[in-house]
Amino acid sequence: MTQAKVCMLGAFAAGKTSLVSRYVRNEYSEKYLTTVGVRIERKVVRSADHELDLVLWDLHGEDEFQRVRHSYLRGAAGCLFVVDGTRGPTLDTALRMQAEAVTTLGPIPCVFAINKADLRASWALEEPDLDLLTARGLSVILTSAKTSQGVEEAFAALVDGIAKTHAHG
């Protein structure tokens, strides 16, 4: 079975760990525990077309004091950027990290998960912000780790992109 390293990237408290927990173990907790360094999770994804052993590197969130080490990105087959819909600056952080990831890794599949869709009423992001991402050719999926909305779809989109890369590679 083919393995693939996937990095979860984004600002702090954007919901990276919650998305991974929901995706891997179908669990969710309201309690916030900040990720120190990196947590590794694993999930085997099977579909009619492919079978992939995803090794998810849930990296700590970025803020003004702490940047993600580029060495953690090395060898990643794809990246999932997590944006907190209720905090506008997290989109800028994610875009900057995506640019850095592309510089480090080259053109790899990237998916933007705009998280906390269950709090849509209090979102700071607006449609034009999301349109901007789409216009750049990025996959954008609204997610909620709390309600599971879009979680499977976001990872499925990334897995699809990785599978295509492997097929062409």
Binding site: M1, T2, Q3, A4, K5, G37, V38, I40, E41, R42, D53, V55, W57, R69, S71, Y72, R74, G75, A76, A77, H166, G169
Partner: protein, 598 residues
């Protein structure tokens, strides 16, 4: 080689050479001479060309240098062996397919010793494990380990392993250096460890973190990590590294084994490692190399505290003592329960109970009406021979037993009730006069009866006569308004009333009683009082006349007129019941004046 420094001959030179045997013309001879002048080494070149062109010559020359070439290649490293291994394997397969007998003949001299060595090793391991088992089973240490296994929920074998282990390589992982993905991993037997993919990711992340933190660069590698009782040994290669998870203190030789594995894996799988894209299947071939690193060493068996036969004997003694204690305690509890049961049984008094000469001895008092001690003994689980018992008969003063004895002696009729309290036997209900006269005095002879009370016991004959009188008093003759004659339907009841009265007279006579019957005539609430009194008297007289006419003695009857109805009766059916004649029987002892009744 000279070919590197000297220009090769012109292409047509060989052609000229090939034509050499056919040279016959003078012009050709001239040409040869010219060539010899121009190329003094012409003959050498011709010889070289011939050696290169003819395979037989080339093969012969290669054969001459091949042994030396192989020797030199082997001294440079394992490359040649690795390269020719598939050829040798194919050759062996082909040989076996073609003629298995040849190979069998060839390896026969080594097969015997190899099999012997294998059997010896297996037997030695078996004896060692048996020794360990006996040692740990009967020793104090073994008992402690069993307790520890029970307390921690681990298997006994696991606890033994933990205590006797010097070191053990529990898991070896081959991890790609570029992306931290797991290429291959092997685990020591009977161990269950966490997901190796996650472990390899975390190891890589830690490596990256350490490298970044100390600016060690790609060449700097974390070689050892200590986690509790576990040590992670890491041996890096250009594209992948081997991580060995070790419990205990491994010798430095393990590092060499890891280095060897990394080197050989990189030697054999260099291209695959360089182009690794996530598919780890080809690295299955690396398993034997990794398994070679799963080394372990156990501590030497310590001198036993005691020999195992002594240990077995000790265990047997402890087991026998335990069994004896268990049986003794169980028997004592059974005996106590039996005695308690006997003592709680009414009519049984245990005077002495003891164990004498291996047998229980029991003596006491027993009421004939109490539960049978033999039955109680059987119920308690004792065979008849288990207990030697002696029971003396006695009469228990327990009220239940006194009553039972009284009932057996006096045989009271069903209408008589007996009660006993504090030695006083009380009779109530009714009984035939003859029984009362004969049996009541006998009651004082019943063991346990100190006094008798029979005031509430009535003669059955009197009770019967009173029942007849009550039956008659239920009778009633009804009359039409203002009429004192009986209509047909009322008259038809005369014979039944006559029979009732005769039965009453007969019962009274048996009871020694006289009977007088008061006949009361009644009227309803209408009419004038004096008229009603007269009408009531006439109605009573009509009934008495009819009964006398039917054969009864007039002396039995006395007439009476009911007092007038004081309250108006609105209901016509109730009013009809008022217009009636009823009876009241008076029973008096024979000879008493008629005024005294029952």
């Amino acid at each position: 080689m000279t070919t590197g420094s000297v220009a090769g001959p012109p292409p047509d030179e060989r052609d000229l050479d090939r034509k050499d045997p056919d040279v016959s013309r003078p012009a050709d001879e001239e040409l040869v001479r010219l060539q010899t002048l121009l190329f003094p080494e012409r003959d050498h070149w011709i010889d070289l060309a011939r050696r290169l062109d003819e395979p037989a010559v080339r093969a012969a020359e290669t054969a001459a240098v091949l042994p030396e070439s192989v020797r030199q290649a082997l001294t440079r490293g394992p490359g040649l062996a690795t390269t020719i291994a598939p050829v040798v394997e194919d050759a062996i397969h082909t040989s076996v397919r073609r003629d298995p007998g040849r190979l069998v003949d060839a390896i026969f001299p080594v097969m015997g010793p190899a099999i012997r060595r294998s059997i010896t090793a297996t037997l030695r391991d078996m004896i060692q494990s048996l020794n360990n088992m006996l040692d740990t089973s009967v020793s104090w240490r073994g008992l402690m380990w069993r307790l520890e296994a029970r307390r921690t929920g681990k298997s006994f074998a696991e606890i033994v392993l933990l205590h006797t282990l010097v070191y053990q390589v529990q898991q070896v992982l081959l991890i790609h250096r570029g992306n931290g993905l797991l290429l291959q991993h092997v685990v020591a037997e009977s161990l269950s460890l966490s997901d190796p993919s996650i472990v390899s990711g975390m190891l890589t992340a830690i490596q990256d973190f350490v490298n970044d933190s100390f600016n060690a660069g790609r060449e700097g590698t974390l070689h050892t990590m200590q986690v509790g009782e576990l040590t992670v040994w890491i041996e890096p290669g250009p594209h992948a590294y081997v991580a060995a998870i070790v419990r205990g203190h491994a010798p430095a030789d393990l590092r060499i084994a890891l280095q060897d594995a990394v080197a050989r894996i990189h030697g054999e799988q260099a291209l695959l490692l360089e182009r690794f894209n996530g598919d780890a299947a080809p690295f299955e071939a690396c398993r034997p190399l990794l398994e070679a690193c799963l080394q372990s060493k156990f501590s030497e068996r310590r001198q036993r505290f005691m020999s195992w036969p002594l240990g077995v004997a000790l265990v047997l003694v402890v087991a026998l003592l335990g069994t004896w204690a268990f049986v003794t305690i169980r028997d004592a509890r059974q005996w106590d329960r039996f005695l308690e049961r006997l003592r709680s049984e009414p009519g049984v008094v245990v005077v002495a109970a003891e164990r004498r000469g291996g047998q229980y001895v029991l003596s006491g008092l027993h009421d004939p009406l109490a539960a049978d001690p033999a039955r109680l003994q059987a119920e308690a689980g004792y065979a008849p021979g288990d207990i030697s018992s002696r029971w003396e008969q006695y009469y228990a003063a327990d009220p239940a037993f006194v009553l039972a004895r009284a009932a057996a002696l006096l045989e009271p009729p069903s209408t008589t009730r007996l009660e006993c309290a504090s030695g006083v036997l009380t009779f109530s209900g009714s009984a035939p006069r003859a029984w009362i006269a004969e049996r009541i005095r006998l009651a004082l002879f019943v063991p346990g009866v100190q006094a008798v009370r029979a005031e509430k016991l009535r003669p059955q004959e009197v009770v019967d006569a009173e029942a007849r009188a009550a039956t008659l008093e239920q009778r009633r003759f009804l009359f039409a308004p203002d009429r004192w004659t009986l209509d047909e339907s009322e008259r038809s009841a005369i014979p039944a009333v006559v029979a009732d009265i005769r039965a009453l007279v007969s019962a009274a006579r048996i009871a020694g009683l006289d009977v007088s019957i008061e006949v009361t005539g009644r009227t309803d609430d209408t009419g004038i009082g004096t008229e009603n009194a007269r009408l009531g008297a006439r109605r009573a007289d009509t009934v008495v006349t009819a009964l006398v006419a039917a054969g009864l003695d007039r002396q039995l009857f006395s007439g009476a007129v009911a007092p007038p109805v004081s309250e108006p009766v609105p209901d016509s059916s109730q009013r009809a019941l008022l217009r009636s004649v009823q009876f009241r029987a008076r029973l008096t002892p024979i000879g008493d004046p008629p005024g005294r009744s029952r």
